[in-house]
Structures are given as C-alpha cells and as structure tokens.
C-alpha cells in the first residue's frame, strides 16, 4: 500500500475501517508451526495453530509460561529471530503475508498491525524522549511534518489518559511510573491506527489497580477505533470479561477455543478445566483447597507422543498416549473447538473413569 493511501486511511483514526463488503476475516492463521534450533535440539514452540479473527473482535490467548503464546504472535507479525523455522500460512485481509520480506512486513507495522509488549520498563527506549518515540512512526509512516506529528502525539497521550501531556511529551521513560509507561507504549502502538493490535501480557508486570485501568483503556480504544485485538495472558481472569473468544494453548497448540461464555460454561478439554480449577478465586472462601495439576508442562524438544497433556491428565486413556487428538469442532456448539478424545461433558464414553495422575517426583527438568 502506498504511503499516500495509508495516510488517507489514517486521517480520521477513530473512524471504523470497515472491511470491504464481503471481505473475509481480518486475520486467518492456518497450520502455523514455528521451531527453534538450539544446542539441545529442535524446540517446537508452536506446533500447528489455526484460527481466524474478525475485524474489531478480541481473541484471548491463554496458556502457561512456555506454551508458545509469544512465539505465535511474533510468528504472525514476522518478528522471529533468525534461528526460527516456520511453516503454515498467515493471511491478513485475505493477503498471504507468510512469506513477506522484511520490507513487506515493515509496511504492515504501525498502520495495519502493531504490538504492546509485556514489560513497560523495558519496551521503551531509555535514551529517547517519549514524544519522539510516538512521533517517529507518525513521521515515518504517515509523512507528517514535525508540528503535525507533535499535535497528534499530544492527542494520543491525552487519549491514553496521561495527565499533562504537554509536559509529559518531553519526559524520558524512566521519569514515569510503570502504568504511565504502559500507556505510552499503547499510544505508540495506536499511533498509526492499526487494524490489529497484539497485546502480549500487557498487564503482567503491573499492579492490579493499574492492570484494571490499562485493560479498560485498551477496551475503550479498541471500541473507538474498531480495532481487532489479540490479548495474550496467562491469567484467565484478564480475558474472561474482555475477550469475544478465548483460545487455550498448551505445548504449542491450541487445545480449546470457544466464545468466552461457552469456554467457561461448557468446558470440554481437561486441561482447560484443570487450569480453571487451579486458580485461587476471591469468590471462594479462604483456605479452599486448590485442585493443583500434578507434574509440569512437557519438554518441547521431546514432547510426549499423543496428547501433550496425557502425562498430567486425570482422564488419559491408552489412545491419548498413542496419537495426538485433532482440534475439532463440537457437535453441540458451533465455533467451539477442542482437542481431546475423551472430552468433558455428557458425550464422554462411560468407561473413562478418572485415573490418578503420576505423583510429582523430584528430579531434573
């Protein structure tokens, strides 16, 4: 897309960029695999992920540390290190972007997709004033002149609710609190009016009160700009009220994906259930015994054959250890996908009574 055209699109950043009539999903990810060659062997960080995201919608991606959430988002954005190998296709607005060159991706960044990182303490350049970090992409992508870019930056700082933007625009990152910095990061990400925002654990490093403010802010900006968002987190609570759909990842795969309400009310995949049960909740009385999941996530270099959750799954059967369950759509609810041979709920075969998982044994990773 030429700079001229892009600029047109952006001039009114808060107008919805409605897709052309009949256009497909904004993002279409199909069979994406990403692996890293390391000294120990090949790490299969993302192992066959498929999903679609419509314009203006929010997809929550939930999973424990190492489940491949960040690698997946970086794969889609083309931000992988050179040690990575990738397969599969990614379509953005119908265009295959999986084999774009570095320049090709650069044209997408900022105006089509952008990213908010986890740690606001490290994601801003410590030696540049925050104003400069915002105006930089405005000037580069939208060809704004200095004055115009400055005014837009002020408006953005105001939009992300930074008090006294005119003063703050000249601050360095270290002069701001964590919450304020994350607002700046969001302003940077929103600057050129992207259609898709990746928020990779945007609040993990922040306090609850600030977390709530930042999530409110993201939701508000998303509504105003009709922007789609992929909200990555390890905290089911963060996405529960804020995502349209949730995908649960385990060992590099999506193991369950459903509209948010359905995922919580009709959980089918044992890992999702286990995750929900393991979280302490304020709604429970104190000293409620938690249902911990025994063991720990698999080694991604030598993942277990079959279902990756089978060593920890209370319902595992012979078949689970032999072949991997495919991600298939529920017969009960359209749009509800899960990867399990013996899903929870009443269509579970009668003979699948729970077995106790192996106890945690000590020993090396």
């Amino acid at each position: 897309m030429s700079r001229q055209r892009r600029r047109k699109l952006i001039e009114v950043p808060s107008t919805p960029h409605m897709g052309q009539p009949g256009a497909g999903p904004l993002l279409d990810v199909d069979g994406v695999r990403t692996s890293f060659d390391t000294a120990r062997g090949r790490v299969k960080a993302v192992d066959g992920v498929t999903f679609r995201l419509e314009r203006g919608k929010t997809l929550g991606i939930v999973g424990e540390s190492g489940s491949g959430k960040s690698v997946l988002s970086r794969t889609i954005m083309g931000l992988l290190p050179s040690t990575a190998t990738r397969e599969g296709t990614v379509r953005f607005e119908g265009r295959d972007i999986s084999d774009l060159s570095a320049e090709g991706y650069r044209d997408l960044y900022g105006t089509e997709m952008s990213m908010v990182f986890q740690d606001p303490m490290t994601s801003l350049n410590p030696v540049l004033r925050i104003g400069r970090q915002i105006t930089e992409s405005l000037r580069y992508h939208l060809d704004m002149d200095k004055r115009e870019a400055n005014e837009t930056a002020l408006a953005l700082l105001d939009a992300v609710k930074i008090p006294e933007p005119a003063k703050r625009i000249r601050s360095y990152p270290h002069e701001l609190s964590g919450g304020m910095r994350q607002r700046v990061v969001i302003a940077v990400a929103l600057a050129c009016g992207p259609k898709l925002l990746f928020a990779d654990e945007p609040t993990t490093a922040l306090d609850v009160t600030v977390q709530a403010q930042i999530l409110d802010l993201l939701a508000e900006q998303q509504r105003e700009r009709f922007m789609a968002m992929i909200l990555i987190t390890h905290d089911l609570g963060v996405v529960a009220g804020r995502a349209d759909e949730i995908a649960v990842m385990y060992a590099g795969r999506i193991v369950e994906k459903a509209p948010t309400n359905v995922l919580f009310s009709d959980t089918r995949m044992p890992y999702t259930e286990a995750l929900m049960k393991a979280i302490p909740k304020v709604s429970q009385p104190s000293h409620t015994r938690l249902d911990a999941i025994g063991g720990r996530p698999p080694d991604l270099i030598n993942p277990p054959a079959g279902c990756a959750f089978s060593p920890r799954c209370p319902y595992a059967q012979e078949r689970c250890r032999a072949e991997p369950p495919p991600l298939s759509e529920s017969t009960r609810v359209a749009g509800h996908y899960f990867a399990c041979f013996y899903p929870l709920g009443h269509d579970r075969p009668a003979d699948t009574s729970p077995v106790t998982p192996e106890p945690t044994s000590g020993g090396a990773r």
Binding site: G179, D207, Q211, G237, K281, P285, L290, G362
Partner: protein
C-alpha cells in the same frame, strides 16, 4: 494504619510475633528520606498466617525484612515470643535466626547456583552445628520428601537443573529444616505458573499443618492472599489500612483503598461483570514525600478536609475487623 494505631493488636503476650510502631527509612540522594514503612503494628498468633497485600512499593518486603532484622528497623519494636529482637546484637541475634526463615519470590536465583541441593537445604543447620552428619542427612531427606522432591534424585544436583516450581520446593525445604517458629514468604508464588502455583500453595498449607508453622505471606495477588491467610493486612504507602479475617475483609471492605483493590481483581468468570465504577485515579505518591494526614487521601474518593490534617488510627468495625480511616465504608464500633 493508611494510618497508625494498635487497636487491632491482640492482648500482649498472646501473640508469637508482635510488631509495634515499626518504622523503616532509607536515605536517598540529596539527603532525602524514603519513608518505606511508617509506624505500622501487627501481630501473629502461633499457627496463624498473616497475609500482607498492597501494590508494588508499599513496603511489604521491607516489613518482612525488618522482622528478621535485615536491615534493623529505624524504630519500633519486634518481639518474638516476648524476646525483643531489635535490641539483640551479634551472637544472641544469630542464635535466634534459625527460628526465623524467609522464602523469596525468585525461586531459582534465591538458591546458590554453585552448591548442591543437599548442601543448600542443610545450610541453616550447619550454622549452629546442631546436628551431626547422620542426623543432618536424615533431616535433609525428611524435609525433601515432605516438600515432594525425591531426595535420591535431587541431592547431588544444582539448582539450575530444576524447574521454578521444584526450586521453590527446595527453598521451602531449606526454610523448614530448622523447625522455625516463623517463616516470612515474600511473594513465593508470584513467579510461578498457575498450575505450579497451586501445587506450592497446597504444599505450604500441608507444611503448616505438619510442622505447625506460623507464616507471614506477602503477595500482591489478592486471590492468593485470601486463599492462604487467616488474617489479612492491607498496606498502602508504608501504612496499614485495614486488618481483618479474609472472608470478612473481601466481602465487606471497610477502607476505600481495600474496596478499590478488590474491585480491580479480574474474575476468571465471564458472568461477573467488570466493575469499572471504582477505579483508582492518579499516581501512587512518592515515599520520599508522602501526603500529610491519611496517605491515601490524594487518590481517595471519600477524602475530606480532615483527611489531610489528621492521620486516621485503627478502629474496630466488626468482629476482629479494623480499619484506619476517618470515613470508613462500615460503621465503626464504639
């Protein structure tokens, strides 16, 4: 408490640990002072778990460290079983150290990477040579089994060969090996994944039952604190705002800050509507120059003139429920 006061303390002599008027200050550049902890009081009964919650920088870790006297507090009294720790010096203090243990947030870096697990776990015993080699080996084996680590597989390995959860188990083993009276857990599960977090929380509960431990449990995750605590103290900018049993405190917070904290908790349940009504605004003030009167007043929706001149002190608002606020959400008792 965001004021001072001691109304929430139990009768003298009944508590295992009693902290009164604790002040910890650090000196900063240009002869300024960081008021990290300013005149707080709390106590813990034998076998009780006290949860300390509050936002980053409110002084939780500083409080925990002041209890074990590293560094020694600027002012105030810390007494363990009637022994005043702040006046102990040298070997008298070292003698009491095995009774106070600490578990830290980062499980991997809090263990010496060059030493073997067996040595790490046995170390607190060796300081006082309370056991001979056989007794020591037996004790190491016992605690490792108790925390769910296979002693034969683990003994001769080093911390980096273990996952975060396993390292936290080893830290717990090290902490309980001296049969301590009190363990200070500073965010012990914050760096762990949910599935492992639940294992460690359950383990702490089991260890408490097994060894009769008394815990100070520091965390910023309110749900975790509610789950493990018998009593919760909410801190804000070096002060205690509210103290009470977790179920009461979460159901009926009396302090405006507690209310704001609770309303910010994300619920893993889409049917719970997001409560964006009570959002704290403004920035956390600097501990270099805390607000006068009630320290929460710059962000408090209920603040009035009195709050800037007079510091609120602890008052009872219910059964074992205390708040330091001039205009609390619950009617104070007389």
């Amino acid at each position: 408490m965001a004021g001072s006061g001691t109304a929430h303390l139990r009768p003298a002599g009944s508590a295992l640990l009693r902290v009164e008027g604790l002040v910890v200050e650090f000196s900063a550049a240009r002869r300024r002072t960081v008021h990290a902890v300013s005149n707080i009081s709390f106590d813990i009964l034998e076998g009780e778990t006290l949860g300390l919650v509050g936002e980053s920088g409110c002084g939780k870790s500083t409080t925990g460290k002041a209890v074990i006297q590293v560094p020694r507090p600027t002012a105030g009294s810390v007494s363990l079983d009637g022994v005043e720790l702040t006046s102990l010096r040298g070997s008298r203090l070292r003698q009491i150290r095995p009774q106070l243990q600490m578990i830290f947030q980062d499980p991997i870096s809090s263990l010496n990477p060059r030493r073997k697990v067996a040595d790490i776990v046995a170390e607190p015993l060796r300081i006082w040579r309370t056991a001979d080699a056989d007794q020591e080996a037996a004790k190491v084996e016992e605690v490792l089994v108790a925390v769910g680590v296979d002693p034969d597989a683990a003994r001769d390995r080093r911390p980096h060969e273990f996952s975060g959860g396993q390292c936290q188990r080893i830290s717990i083993a090290r902490a309980v090996i001296t049969d301590p009276r009190l363990i200070i857990c500073d965010e012990p599960v914050s760096a762990l994944d949910v599935s492992v977090q639940a294992q460690i929380l359950n383990l702490l509960q089991d260890m408490k039952t097994r060894y009769g431990l008394t815990l100070v449990f520091i965390a910023h995750d309110l749900a975790v604190v509610k789950n493990v605590s018998d009593r919760v103290a909410v801190m804000y900018l070096g002060k205690i705002c509210e103290v009470g049993p977790p179920d009461t405190l979460f159901a009926e917070p009396a302090h405006p800050y507690t209310e704001a904290l609770i309303s910010a908790i994300p619920h893993p349940d889409p049917t719970v509507p997001i409560d964006s009504g009570i959002r704290l605004t403004g920035e956390l003030p600097s501990p270099l120059d805390p607000p006068s009167g009630c320290r929460f007043r710059t962000r408090c929706p209920r603040a009035q003139a009195r709050c800037s001149t007079e510091e609120p002190t602890a008052r009872g608002v219910g059964d074992d429920h205390f708040v330091a606020c001039h205009f609390p959400l619950l009617e104070p008792e007389e």
